[in-house]
Symmetry: C2
Subunit: 334 residues, 2 copies
Amino acid sequence: MPELRRDPVIGRWVIISTERANRPHDFFHHEVRVQASTGLCPFCPGQESLTPTEILAYRPQGGEHNSSGWTVRVVPNKFPALQVEGELGREGIGLYDRMNGVGAHEVIIETADHKETLATLSPKLIEDVLWAFRDRIVDLKRDVRLRYILVFKNHGAAAGATLEHTHSQLIALPVIPTNVLAEIEGCRTHFQQKERCIYCDIIRQEISDRARLVAENPEFLAITPFASRFPFEMWILPKRHAAYFEESQKTQFDMLARTLSECLRRMDHVLTRPAYNYILHTSPLHEKTGDFYHWHIELIPKLTQVAGFEWGTGFYINPVTPEEAARVLREAEI
Amino acid sequence: MPELRRDPVIGRWVIISTERANRPHDFFHHEVRVQASTGLCPFCPGQESLTPTEILAYRPQGGEHNSSGWTVRVVPNKFPALQVEGELGREGIGLYDRMNGVGAHEVIIETADHKETLATLSPKLIEDVLWAFRDRIVDLKRDVRLRYILVFKNHGAAAGATLEHTHSQLIALPVIPTNVLAEIEGCRTHFQQKERCIYCDIIRQEISDRARLVAENPEFLAITPFASRFPFEMWILPKRHAAYFEESQKTQFDMLARTLSECLRRMDHVLTRPAYNYILHTSPLHEKTGDFYHWHIELIPKLTQVAGFEWGTGFYINPVTPEEAARVLREAEI
């Protein structure tokens, strides 16, 4: 019998329908194979002049701005969805509202080595990527025009990546995305009723239940969420309550890098290097959400056929139970 | 300068960023070419035994149940996401809620002719497809366990179709999808403030403005919505206020078939037969939404690369302005 499950935060129902896993073509798989650089990659060392001028770079041995020798490098997106300069120009047009596309669109190049992926980097190097996310958020937060910072990764063409060299992206927005607002509202309602954070409650229940645990260390928990939209969807949550990713402590960046590395390696092992996305869900910039919001990362391998109606309805059909996905990921010998 | 636009119903902001249209690989295009049937298609006449037993069929010349001679045929999905039989079995598991996947999952085969698509069918034949939607909704509405009926179409593999023979689908659910709830809430709020339907206000503004008009007849309007998520996204709305699709009058089915046909032919002409989805947005079954909700169809050609983060955030980047899309669609010589 298929099952309907409700996400406790935003109230979204999903169908968990394992019978459909037998349907022809329901799963597709494109292994992401990273080739040696052709020498034309704009994210490779020595090609720094092919990107817009850098915003941030870590150069452990020192060195010139926009030269090689960096381990992590942040540059503006060459085809930005938003522009840094300008007024917001908020305007009503009859019923409608518009404003100028003011914001930032940046690329975080995660390593100088074209052949690596985030899953093959050491946790120490992943930690530097997380520090780059944090440094950019802290810097952009000073811009009072901005209200939300989205950090995400498209890995592999099937997940929307247009360049192979491993990178994440950051989009800073003068508005708050609707799904973030829905999460905030869900958390606020739970807190008003119970004076507790709903994600803290989820963490307690998952640690006690164990059926959906993928990885755990003193600071972080990785689970397949109860109402997973996608097969092998994972959430990584800090065990300590915290609304703002960028306020994490130093040891937490270390522990998060280990957890993220472990999840990616388990996923790569079980699903043979799939295309995937992750999205950092952190608090809006100037909202007082400290009591009730809880930042986390959502990691989604791109395995299922594009089911168009799901975009229009927010309604998902998942052919793999989260418990089975967690078991397989947990038992992978990595 | 990119532009941020807000959907007036659900408050979702989108980025309209035409600069990004120049980005390599941002558009992809797979023309949907319908081949002659291989003789193995389960939706072709003579193959009725390959589908589960039919629920509804229109046979203008009469004929046996599950025989050929039909023009439109409705059958259960062979790989259903939900099952008709059983109790709801609502249950709480700690924080979480679940219930049995009770519901219906049906396929509406839109024509007996394998070589046709909905765009190449005559409006008269499309009208019969709309009657089949209506007849199935009216029938399923009697089942008190059900709360929402989703009617949608995946056309072409890129839009999620697994079979070529043109068909729509229906999923009847014991819950209401979150995006539908968000629309209902937006409409309710507008009505409480102004005692008017927000979609009626949109229709008045679009008829007066004309910049986003694609097609119009005495009963229906087709527009590219002000805050379109996708290039060439279209909405088809009845001009007369109505919350329930299935309560439309006979002349309205005729006029809707003409409008839908015109939109599909304009889209096929301009975009060279793209993959697409449409979704019927109609009122939940047992809710009193008559005053403030307004049913409509959302039609979305599948043109853009899968941008994974958009699923996680509900935040969309659209490289084509709705005004430009409407102009091109309107001026197409069909």
